[in-house]
């Protein structure tokens, strides 16, 4: 070992270094570039940043504060707020947890690290991306290290940034088990199987609790709380949270338009939390709402409210008002509850049992239902206004529109088709069906027709086609619906406009003549289709279903009363902030009021109206 020989002279070995080039870095004349992953000051892409505030929550040092930027637009439906993180470099420890947790991937760290100042206030800073702050992020030639500070930084100098494989969130959702297309198209079996308890808990665990979804939800459900309760394995608590704002979890858990998932911050880079399926899990796993919720109506207020329409809006209003202690009676022309959701969504998407489950609970609170009672025929509207302290109109859009093309009378209307099939006497379908329309109702009609074809012609070749004015990217139906319809083998003919239903010699339908669409909307963005008149094609088929939209039917209102009812420019019933129409004591909600035309907005309308009716009938309290 070396320690045996020791000498004072051996250290002279070091003398040779006198003649070598020094290793000193001549800073600031010679700069050493920080590593590519260097964790310096923050960068934030304002266009991508949602303002979800996860960075604020994860910061161990309380260094991040979300501040409102007035210049930015608050767009809750897209999950974008106008809040942006402000960093206090008197707290920041440059750990980068905020970068790893950022679901939008907007936050990153740059390789800049120089800020020296005698004023501590200058250490608080709202990071902004170099793209939009040119005076702050300078090109190489204008940058000087001696002037460097938070507002004098280098362009394109990104350091530590996110890597999805190493991020602190899970971008992929738990797969929802579904019946495969080949199997499901043969019957009306429910397509979505539903999560198991373990899957639901795993999916709920992905939620980052930022609450963007709650801002986006028209009904403002406490999504963070009910998803959190599922994670905590407490479905009862979850159901209680849902029932605060939404008494139809089994329905909404299946057919909600899930505005929340559009806004979910996890959806920016990955897949949003499956909020709708989680709600469905809660609704399905609890056999009896009543024992879990333990709700009962408040003391009787001795006021009675009549509701026209037992659809989502009417049912919800009945629930909200009944809990407040009102006597509620719901009138509907159908034989059971649900209105549009009773006849609209096919059974493979929304089984009737789910509708009955939600409505049954509401009925159990003491709400009276009068089915098969058409207002305007079995009972008059004026009578209703006289007998009840307030009236709520939630009649929905039930008057189907027709294309009005030649031989249009030979076509079936989608609503009638769906209704006859779901709650009526049934219908015989053709072997080659053409559905006109590109919306969700068209998809429902087409997919339902396909199932009927498979049932009625089990061993023969069948075909269902859709024709829509809109091209793929403009189609109003949700991507999910279109995708599933494609999987099941439905043929699409986008950007073709129907011109004429062709008949054969015997007067039977033999096809649909179509013209190629040039554009659907005019320059002002209004619906005004134009066609290539010279490009035509004949789609062969022996049955045509029209699914191009519906409008409301107000024939139940007497003429002189109807005159007093005001409408908006978009032909919607005009209501004030309490949900009241221009007729005193008459409130309205649902599809006749809002333009979202979906269940959750109808529930939101009902919530507004329930407060409004309360204020109308008891102005003092």
């Amino acid at each position: 070992m070396s320690e045996q020989k020791s000498s004072v002279l051996s250290s002279l070995e070091a003398v040779k270094y006198l003649f070598r080039k020094p290793k000193t870095i001549k800073y600031p004349f010679e700069l050493k570039e920080p590593a590519l992953r260097y964790r310096g000051f923050h960068l934030n892409d304002w266009d991508a940043c949602t303002g979800c505030g996860n960075c604020e929550d994860i910061c161990p040092n309380d260094a991040i504060e979300m501040v409102e930027v007035p210049d930015l637009e608050d767009r809750p439906a897209e999950g974008m707020t106008n809040r942006r993180p402000q960093i206090n470099y008197g707290r920041c420890c440059f750990c980068g947890l905020c970068v790893d947790i950022c679901p939008a991937g907007s936050l990153s760290l740059s390789r800049d690290y120089l800020h020296i100042h005698f004023n501590t206030d200058t250490f608080t800073f709202v990071p902004k991306d170099e793209k939009s702050a040119e005076n702050k992020f300078l090109p190489e030639e204008e940058y000087s290290v001696l002037k460097a500070n938070l507002n004098h930084r280098r362009q394109d100098y990104e350091g530590f940034s996110q890597d999805l494989d190493f991020s602190l969130f899970e971008p992929e959702r738990v797969r929802m088990p579904q019946v495969p297309p080949e199997e499901r198209k043969l019957s009306f079996i429910e397509q979505v199987v539903g999560y198991t308890k373990e899957e639901a808990s795993r999916e709920a665990a992905r939620c980052m609790e930022c609450g963007l979804c709650e801002d986006a939800c028209p009904a403002g459900l406490n999504i963070v709380d009910y998803v959190g309760a599922i994670y905590e394995d407490d479905p009862d608590e979850s159901l209680r949270e849902i029932f605060e704002d939404n008494p139809l979890p089994a329905i909404c858990g299946r057919i909600c338009m899930k505005h929340c998932e559009e806004a979910c911050s996890l959806g920016k880079q990955g897949e949003p939390v499956a909020i709708r399926w989680l709600k469905r899990w809660t609704a399905d796993v609890i056999e009896d709402y009543k024992s879990s919720l333990e709700l009962s109506p408040a003391e009787d207020k001795e006021k009675r409210v009549g509701i026209i329409g037992a659809g989502p809006s009417g049912l919800s209003l009945a629930y909200f008002l009944r809990l407040k202690g009102y006597g509620v009676t719901v009138f509907d022309s159908l034989p059971g509850p649900g209105g549009a959701v009773r006849i609209g969504p096919p059974k493979y998407r929304l089984p009737l049992e789910a509708v009955e489950k939600d409505a049954g609970y509401i009925a159990s609170l003491g709400v009276k239902f009068r089915y098969l009672t058409r207002v305007g025929k079995d009972v008059s509207f004026t009578e209703l206004r006289d007998n009840y302290d307030a009236v709520y109109m939630a009649v929905g859009n039930f008057d189907p529109l027709s294309t009005g093309i030649e031989n249009a009378d030979r076509a079936h209307l989608a609503l009638d088709f769906l209704k006859r099939n779901k709650i009526g006497e049934g219908i015989d379908v053709g072997r080659e069906i053409i559905v006109i329309g590109g919306g969700n109702v068209a998809m429902d009609a087409a997919r339902e027709a396909l199932r009927l074809q498979h049932i009625q012609y089990s061993d023969k070749d069948v075909m269902t086609k859709t024709v829509s004015l809109e091209d793929w990217d403009e189609m109003p139906a949700t991507d999910e619906e279109v995708e599933e319809a494609k999987e099941e083998g439905i043929q699409f003919n986008p950007a073709w406009g129907p011109k004429k239903i062709e008949l054969d010699e015997e007067g039977n339908v033999r096809g649909l003549l179509c013209t190629k669409v040039k554009s659907v909307f005019d320059e002002d963005g209004r619906f005004n289709p134009s066609f290539h008149e010279d490009r035509e094609k004949l789609l062969e088929g022996d049955m045509v279903i029209e699914a191009i939209g519906q409008k409301p039917d107000f024939s139940f209102i007497p003429e002189e009363t109807f005159q007093k009812l005001s409408f908006t420019e978009r032909r919607k019933v005009k209501v004030d902030e309490d949900g009241m129409t221009t007729l005193p004591g008459v409130f309205a909600g649902g599809d006749i009021v809002n333009s979202n035309l979906d269940a959750v907005t109808a529930i939101a309308d009902a919530k507004v109206a329930s407060e409004g009716i309360d204020r109308y009938l008891f102005p003092s309290s």
Binding site: V8, L36, C95, D100, L168, R206, G228
Partner: protein
């Protein structure tokens, strides 16, 4: 030197209390010692820590499992890697998280590199204390080269925040293995110069031999670990005694000396550094492909089942342990670090200073590798 050491200070000299540190040139780190001296001879010494007490264990109870990561590495600024590792090991043990094979390899490579960096820092402090500015400069330069590697790997020079439960925070960058090898070759190529200039230098021998002797039994009695124990002839290294990571998959040996003085402690450090460099080469050769990280649960919802654990590893200064307790919540219920400098700086140091000369105080303290922040926490 010997004459000086044995000089009798005579019966007339009074006993004085002398405050040594925290602001003192002979003191490395924010630490102080109260010396009772008679002449220049230390009669008794009393360590006075706490200048860096930040209350880590309380702060950890206030932060959730992932938020504690940036915190724990700051317990010891000289070698943050082992702190990250011990916390990760404890959390993995409590939460039952598996680490992929590649993750374990990267961890060990990183830990061995930080051991070298830490030893080089110690060598700087020690050689500077003995007046070898040149060697100190080399050591600091070579440590900086390793910090460059860390910066490339983790994004931070000193506080790397790299080892996470479930693996490591990022995979190796492109071409990193080659650069590690190049840097280690550069440092390794200087070992003969280090030997000639410092380790074989008679001045070093004169100044370090017989100073601050801590015998084997004495060291064990006082809870000594690491170099303190190995320099006294006890082969005790957690990497062998209670293997973690992939230390049981590579071939390496524990280095010991017999004398237990400052000289042998520094020589053990030197041997370990060389061993670590060799180990990194072996690990780099065997590193498997595959994932380096198993995702931890969502930090906002992550609860660890009720339980407790005590994990330990060999940091560059000795046995580093962590007693971690979870009550099933989102935060640790209690965390207590068993840091190697704690017994070394508070018990062994006081004993080792007895009867030594004032001028050797810094010498003994650094040779015991006392690091103030990890005592105070």
């Amino acid at each position: 030197m010997e004459i000086l050491r044995q000089r009798d200070t005579g019966p007339t000299t009074r006993e004085l209390e002398l405050y040594f540190g925290p602001q003192h040139l002979g003191m490395v780190g924010n630490f102080s010692i109260t010396l009772n001296v008679k002449g220049d001879r230390i009669v008794s010494a009393e360590a006075n820590p706490g200048y860096l007490h930040r209350g880590f264990e309380k702060l950890m109870e206030e932060r959730n499992w992932i938020q504690n990561f940036p915190l724990v590495c700051r317990v010891n600024v000289i070698e943050p890697g082992s702190m990250e590792m011990v916390y990760s090991m404890a959390v993995e043990d409590l939460a039952g998280i598996e680490v992929p094979e590649r993750g374990e390899y990267i961890r060990c490579i990183y830990l061995e590199l930080s051991r070298v960096a830490s030893h080089l820092f110690g060598l700087w402090a020690y050689s500077k204390m003995l007046g070898f500015e040149t060697v100190g400069g080399w050591a600091m330069y070579h440590r900086d080269l390793i910090l460059d590697l860390f910066e490339e790997l983790t994004g931070g020079r000193v506080y790397n925040i790299y080892i996470w439960p479930g693996g490591v925070r990022r995979d190796l960058p492109e071409g990193f293995i080659g650069r590690v090898k190049r840097t280690l070759h550069e440092i390794g190529g200087k070992v003969p110069d280090y030997n000639k200039t410092f380790f074989e230098n008679r001045v070093f021998h004169e100044r370090a031999r017989g100073i601050g002797v801590v015998g084997k039994d004495e060291a064990k009695e006082m809870g000594g670990t690491g170099q303190v124990l190995r320099a006294a002839g006890q082969e005790y290294d957690i990497r062998k005694v209670d293997p973690y990571g992939v230390y049981d998959e590579v071939d390496w040996e524990v280095h010991t000396r017999e004398e237990g003085d400052a000289y042998s402690r520094i020589m053990v450090i030197r041997d370990e550094m060389i061993e670590s460099v060799h180990m990194v080469f072996k690990l780099l050769k065997d590193i498997p492909d595959g994932p380096a990280y198993n995702k931890v649960p969502n930090p906002f919802k992550w609860r660890i089942p009720e339980g407790e654990t005590y994990v330990r590893l060999e940091s560059s200064r000795g046995e580093l342990g962590l007693y971690l307790l979870s009550d099933g919540g989102q935060r640790p219920y209690r965390a207590h670090f068993r840091t190697p400098s704690y017994p070394h700086g508070l018990t062994v140091l006081e004993k080792a200073l007895d009867g030594e000369s004032i001028s050797d105080t810094g010498n003994i303290m650094i040779s015991l590798y006392v690091t103030a922040p990890e005592i105070d926490r």
